[in-house]
Amino acid sequence: MTTTGTPSPGATRVGPARRPASAPLRVLTVVALVAGVIAIALIPLSATPYTNYQLSVVAAFAVAILGLNIVSGYAGQISLGQSAFMGLGAYAAAFGVTHGWPVVASFLLAALLPAVVGLVVAIPAVRLRGNALATVTIILPILAVPLAKRFSDITGGSEGLNVDWMHAPAGVGLDDDQWRYYVVVAIAAVLFLLGRNIVVGRIGRAFAVVRTNEAVASAMGISAHRYKVLAFTIASFYGGAAGFLYVAVVQFASPDLPNFLVAINMLAALVIGGFASLWGSVVAGFFYVYVPVFAGAVDPSRTNIFYGAALLLVLFIVPGGVSGGVSRLVRLLVGRLFGRRPPARDDDALTDPQPITSTQQDTAVPDASPDGLRSSVGPRKEVP
């Protein structure tokens, strides 16, 4: 996963600037990747069962947050409802398991059902501009909890559904926690690879241009509406798949998952990790799982204070999020070490409160906007 050719994130200010990797950086990336894969493979053999459990949960949330990243970070449509899709996926997985479905069938149900729901929600919802989409999506988790309780025959109501599955097959010589870790991390890795393929090519470029300028998108033959719906559907798919992974690790689906604060905190973790960055989603997964753990060591009610403060801090000082900040730092260090100057222009534009593509360019040469006054009252051509 080199960063070359990745459609760049955020002309909106919550996104890191991406530059093509220099040769030393590319080498460094490959080395880091190989080391990372080895570490990921070896960790569960020596770690405690609880650590393996936590890391598996990290992988599940990283997948859910990657989905959120695709719709919010890459396609620019803020969703406050991702936990609803994760919850739906968890229930679907638990349903499949308790009804004796094969694992693959459970997975497909867990991922595709939320995707269909996401599609149905998205078709009207993405017609909303700006932050109005967030107002629709915020309703999903709030509705999901009473719905889950209402359909208690299927969901187990407030008690939730316990499942007992995903045991290590006899003969592999692994404990359950290790086996689950490998299964979950492997599926997560595949989902990340697919996600990466989506965000770097034709589809990712379309997302990026829809995010930054819909007029340009349509001039290039890209239907903003269709791509927003697509992004939302993919996000729901990832949310559902993450729900499956969650149930595989936790062995439990309950109304605590499709919760309002879960969705909000996922978005917070994503922004802190870094919008429109694959690594950002991984960082966000860790953040989501471990912040409550560390905060809980002090006082459980401090988790949200920490989250809120960290999020504001990121917004104020490192708009690229942790991954953006780290990658900038790495570039700077690599530049020093290998005698190359850091890029002349830094991300000062990203700290500019103006959204660069829209506001700045609209006003860039006000002399030259004969239609400025007209278009402010202009009709909008409806996109079907």
Partner: protein, 256 residues
């Protein structure tokens, strides 16, 4: 032979304001037509109608004989139409190459699933698009900055990146909205050469909105003068510049 672009009796109202009033225009294949007129004459609005971004109040628009009035803007590209914008609309922190590659969207096939799975045709398509984009960047003198973030480029280069993006969609009809806006004189000369070259190479029909009369005179076969949303005159650039009504429209009655 049908006109590449034919605009008939086009009117556009915004609220109570009449922006375009029965404008007619025919652009024959392989010609360059200039659209000139003072600020607020409705030139960009006419462009926005042609590209489908505005829906005119009445009239008709045909591209290669195909009526386009009820097409959403994102379905204009398939008719071979592409455009640039008055204020270059680039993704400033994406690389120049990535900006240009957006133009290849309609030339590439496959949905999210094909691309996620990296099906072979997506890989070969992407390779071809990158190669084509590379050639275009070369052509427009942008090869050296292909990997730079677009935002780090000088303003004048933004216009060229936009041009490359529009060309990558392989249009037959290209709408250029103030390509020389804000460029120093020396760069305008270059731009004229560039547009001449791409026009021949790609067999393009071009409509240009431009205030820079030098560019209009050098490039266009005909110009249409719009004033107050109406077509005042159609003729050669020289005729237009000398026409008393045009002089009056720009400089006022006393100067004419």
């Amino acid at each position: 032979m049908t006109s590449r672009l034919s605009v008939r009796d086009l009117s556009l109202h915004f609220g109570g304001i009449q922006v375009l009033d029965s404008v007619g225009l025919a652009v024959e294949p392989d010609t360059i037509v200039g659209l000139v007129g003072p600020n607020g004459a409705g030139k960009t609005s006419l462009f926005n109608c042609i590209s489908g971004h505005y829906r005119p109040t009445s009239g008709s628009i045909l591209v290669d004989g195909v009526p386009t009035l009820h097409r959403p803007p994102h379905r204009m590209a398939e008719l071979g139409l592409s455009r640039t914008f008055q204020h270059p609309a680039l993704q400033l922190d994406a690389s120049v190459l990535d900006n240009v590659l957006i133009g290849a969207h309609t030339r590439l096939r496959g949905g999210a699933l094909s691309w996620a799975l990296r099906l072979p045709f997506t890989i070969s398509g992407e390779r071809r698009a990158r190669q084509r984009a590379g050639e275009l960047l070369d052509h427009l003198g942008l090869a050296g900055v292909a990997d730079r973030p677009a935002g780090s480029l000088a303003h004048g280069l933004h216009k060229r990146v936009e041009l490359a993006r529009a060309l990558l969609s392989e249009p037959r009809l290209l709408l250029l909205d103030e390509p020389a806006g804000g460029l120093p004189h020396a760069e305008v000369e270059q731009l004229i050469e560039t547009i001449r070259a791409i026009r021949t190479e790609f067999g393009l029909t071009i409509v240009i909105v431009e205030h820079h009369m030098g560019l209009i005179s050098a490039l266009t076969d005909r110009v249409v003068v719009l004033v107050q949303g109406r077509k005042l005159l159609e003729g050669t650039a020289l005729e237009a510049q000398r026409h008393p009504l045009v002089v009056e429209a720009y400089l006022g009655r006393t100067a004419a």
